[in-house]
Amino acid sequence: MLSCLTLFSCIEDQDFNQFDEIGVTPTIEASILYVEAPESLVNASTQTNVINQEFNFDAFSSDVFSKRVLDGTITYIVENTTESELSVSIELLDLDGNVLDTVIIPVAPAPMEMQQIDIAYGNSGRSIDIIKNTSSIRVEATNVSGTQSTSTLAEPKVILKSSGKFRLEIIQ
C-alpha cells in the first residue's frame, strides 16, 4: 500500500540546487568603547594631551567575527561640556601595534552640538581588513586651546561614545 502510494504519488518540480543560494547575513550592532574624562583631568594635564591611552579590543580580530564580517560602520559620538577646545584621535591598531586606521574628531568647547562621525568599512568604505585586523584601540585627546576650563555646568567632562554595526556572513 505504501509502495503503491509512493509510486503513484506526484511531486511538483523542486529545485534543490537553490540550497547553494541560501545566504544568512545578519547585521549586528553593539557598543564598542566609552571613555569619559572630567574637566579636572583636562585642566590637570601639564601637556596638551588630555588622554593618550591604548585599550585592548579583541572582539574584531577573534575568528568568530573576523572570518565572517563583510562590511559595516563604526559610529563615534563626542560630547564636550568643558570650555576647552579639543581634538580627539582614535586609532585602530593591529596585534603588533601598527596603526591601521585613524579618525580625528575636532571638538568645539561647550556649548557644542554633539559631534557624530560614521566611518564605513567594506563596500565603498575603507578596507574591511582594517576591522578584521584590529586588536586594540588608542584614544588620544588634545587640548587644542591650551586654556584651563572653568565651566559653570554641572560635572563638565568630555565623553567619547562608539558603536559598531556590522554585517556578518553566517552561511553562503
Binding site: L5, E12, Q14, D15, I32, Y34, E36, D58, K161
Partner: protein, 476 residues
C-alpha cells in the same frame, strides 16, 4: 526531475520521519491485534495472536505544522532567501513544530487465559520520539541580526525541544468485566538508549539605548539542556561499538523507567460503543551517562567603559578581558552530571462508535450473537461510523486532534477504515487503513494524509503503519 523526486521521497520518508503520534486509523480497529497497543481495553475476540518478529508492527509518522519542502524548494523562480524569510522566519511562529515518532515491534503476542474473560498481551518494541518547536526569535536573530531592532526582546524560551529513543517491554491484561465493559491495563519498562530535552528555557536578549554608551545589550537567561546517553553513543561510534552499545542499553543496560497504559471499551447499547485509553503514563530516571548544560544569569554591557582618571590607575589593566570575564561570571555557561527524571509524552484516546447494517459472524470460540446475554465477544456489524479524540502532552501544552471515521467490513476477510482528521498539521487529512485476513494470517497497512500525495513535497504531514500477524480464534 527524477533526482528531485527521489530526493523528495527520501526527505519525506526519512528526514521528516518523526512527526505526530496520532494513530487514528489503528485506534479501535479491533480486527488488528496492534489496536490493543493503543487501547489495552479494546474489545478483542482472539484466542491468541503472535506478531511476526520485526514485521508485526511498524509505524512512522512525519510532519511539520508550518512548512513543507515545496514551500522552500519549489521551482517557482522566487529567491530562496525571500521564501525562507517570508515563509519560515516570519511565516511560522513559536508554536509550529517539527515532531514525530517511530515504533518497530520486536515482539508482540497475546493469548486468552483459562478464564476466557482474561486476555494477556506482551512484547517489546523500539520507539523514538522527538519534537522541536520553531525557534523563531533565534532564527530572526541569526537571519537578520539585532541591528535596527532597538527595544525588541528576543525570547530565549523559543528553544524548546526534546527527543528520546528506547526499548519498551510490556505486559498487559485485557479483562471483560461484563457484557458491557472491557477494561485493560498494561505495565511497561522503558530501557532508554538516549534522551535529550531542553524544554524549560526562559530569558531574553535585548538591545536598548545605552545609559552611558550608544547601546546597551542585555542577556537574561535561565536555560538548560539535559542529555543522557549521547556521549556514550558518540564514544561507541568512535570505537566502532555502536551496535553493541545500543543493544546493551535496549536490554536494561542503560537508564530505566516505568509506565502504564490504561483503557476501556463500554457498550452503551448494542450498536453504540464508547472507548478510551491513556498511554505512557510514566517516566524514565536518567542517572547514567548524563551531561547537562546550563546558562543562567543576567548581564548588561555597553562595551568597554573607561572612566578616567580612575581607570588609568592600573596601566596593565585589560578592559576587554575584564568585560569578557564579567559576562562569563554573570551568565556562566556550565555543565553537570545531575540525574533527572523525564516524563513520557502521555497520550489520550477516546472514541464514540455507532455500528449499523448487517451482522458479521463472530469468529470467537463462543456462543456469540448480537442478542446473546453473556457472550464474550459480540458479533460485529458491517458498518461503523464515529468520532475520535486524541490528545498528547507536549512541551508547549496539549495537542489535540479530532477524527471522524467510517469502517466497512467485508465478511471476516477484509475490513477498511477511512478517517478524516483535523489537527495542527492539516485540515485535510484523509487516511485509509486496510486489514486483510487470509486464514490465520493477518496483514494490515495504513496511510495518512492521502490528499497530499498529489504533491508529496507540499505535504505537512504523513504517516504509515503496517504489520503482519498470525491470529487464532480457537475454533476447530
Amino acid at each position: 526531475m527524477r533526482a528531485s523526486k527521489i530526493l523528495s521521497i527520501v526527505l519525506f520518508w526519512t528526514c521528516f520521519a518523526m512527526f505526530g503520534q496520532n494513530k487514528q486509523l489503528l485506534y479501535d480497529f479491533v480486527e488488528i491485534p496492534q489496536s490493543a497497543m493503543i487501547n489495552p481495553g479494546v474489545d478483542t475476540d482472539f484466542q491468541w495472536y503472535a506478531g511476526v518478529p520485526l514485521l508485526s508492527g511498524m509505524s512512522l509518522q512525519a510532519g511539520s505544522s508550518g512548512l513543507s519542502v515545496n514551500d522552500i524548494f519549489a521551482n517557482d523562480g522566487l529567491d530562496i532567501n525571500d521564501k525562507i524569510r517570508d515563509r519560515a522566519i516570519y511565516g511560522m511562529n513559536a508554536r509550529d513544530e517539527l515532531s514525530g515518532t517511530f515504533q518497530i515491534e520486536l515482539l508482540n503476542f497475546g493469548f486468552r487465559g483459562k478464564n476466557p474473560d482474561n486476555f494477556y498481551t506482551g512484547g517489546m518494541y523500539i520507539e523514538g520520539d522527538a519534537i522541536g518547536y520553531w525557534f523563531q526569535d533565534y532564527a530572526i536573530l541569526a537571519f537578520d541580526g539585532n541591528a535596527d531592532k532597538l527595544n525588541q526582546p528576543f525570547d530565549l524560551g523559543h528553544l524548546k525541544t526534546r527527543g528520546e529513543m528506547m526499548n519498551v517491554f510490556h505486559i498487559g491484561l485485557n479483562k471483560k468485566i461484563d457484557n458491557e465493559l472491557t477494561i485493560g491495563v498494561r505495565g511497561k519498562i522503558y530501557s532508554s538508549i538516549f534522551d535529550f530535552n531542553s524544554t524549560k528555557n526562559q530569558g531574553t536578549f535585548i538591545t536598548k539605548e545605552g545609559v552611558n554608551n550608544i547601546y546597551s545589550s542585555t542577556i537574561e537567561a535561565d536555560m538548560q539542556l539535559r542529555t543522557s546517553g549521547l556521549n556514550g553513543l558518540k564514544d561507541a561510534s568512535d570505537d566502532g561499538t555502536l551496535g553493541s552499545t545500543i543493544t546493551k542499553r535496549a536490554f536494561f543496560g542503560g537508564n530505566l523507567g516505568v509506565g502504564v497504559d490504561l483503557g476501556f471499551t463500554y457498550q452503551l447499547s448494542d450498536q453504540l460503543v464508547f472507548t478510551g485509553s491513556l498511554l505512557d503514563l510514566g517516566f524514565i530516571y536518567h542517572s547514567k551517562d548524563i551531561k547537562n548544560y546550563t546558562l543562567n544569569g543576567k548581564a548588561t554591557i555597553e562595551g568597554i567603559e573607561i572612566i578616567l582618571p580612575d581607570a588609568a590607575a592600573d596601566p596593565n589593566a585589560d578592559f576587554w578581558q575584564d568585560l569578557v570575564d564579567d559576562v562569563e561570571g554573570f551568565v556562566p555557561f556550565e555543565d553537570n552530571a545531575d540525574s533527572y527524571i523525564a516524563f513520557r509524552p502521555t497520550k489520550l484516546y477516546s472514541s464514540l462508535r455507532y455500528n449499523f447494517g448487517e451482522h458479521v459472524d463472530n469468529r470467537a470460540n463462543c456462543a456469540c450473537g448480537v442478542n446473546a446475554s453473556s457472550n464474550r465477544a459480540r458479533a460485529k456489524y458491517v458498518n461503523s461510523v464515529g468520532g475520535q479524540l486524541y490528545v498528547i502532552n507536549r512541551p508547549r501544552g496539549p495537542q489535540v486532534a479530532l477524527t471522524g471515521f467510517y469502517q466497512r467490513r467485508f465478511g471476516n476477510f477484509m475490513s477498511i477504515k477511512t478517517t478524516y482528521t483535523i489537527d495542527k498539521f492539516s485540515y485535510s487529512n484523509v487516511g485509509l487503513g486496510l486489514s486483510l485476513q487470509a486464514g490465520p494470517v493477518n496483514i494490515y497497512a495504513m496511510a495518512d494524509n492521502l490528499l497530499s500525495y498529489g504533491n508529496l513535497a507540499d505535504s505537512n504531514y504523513a504517516s504509515f503503519q503496517l504489520g503482519l500477524n498470525i491470529i487464532s480464534w480457537g475454533k476447530k
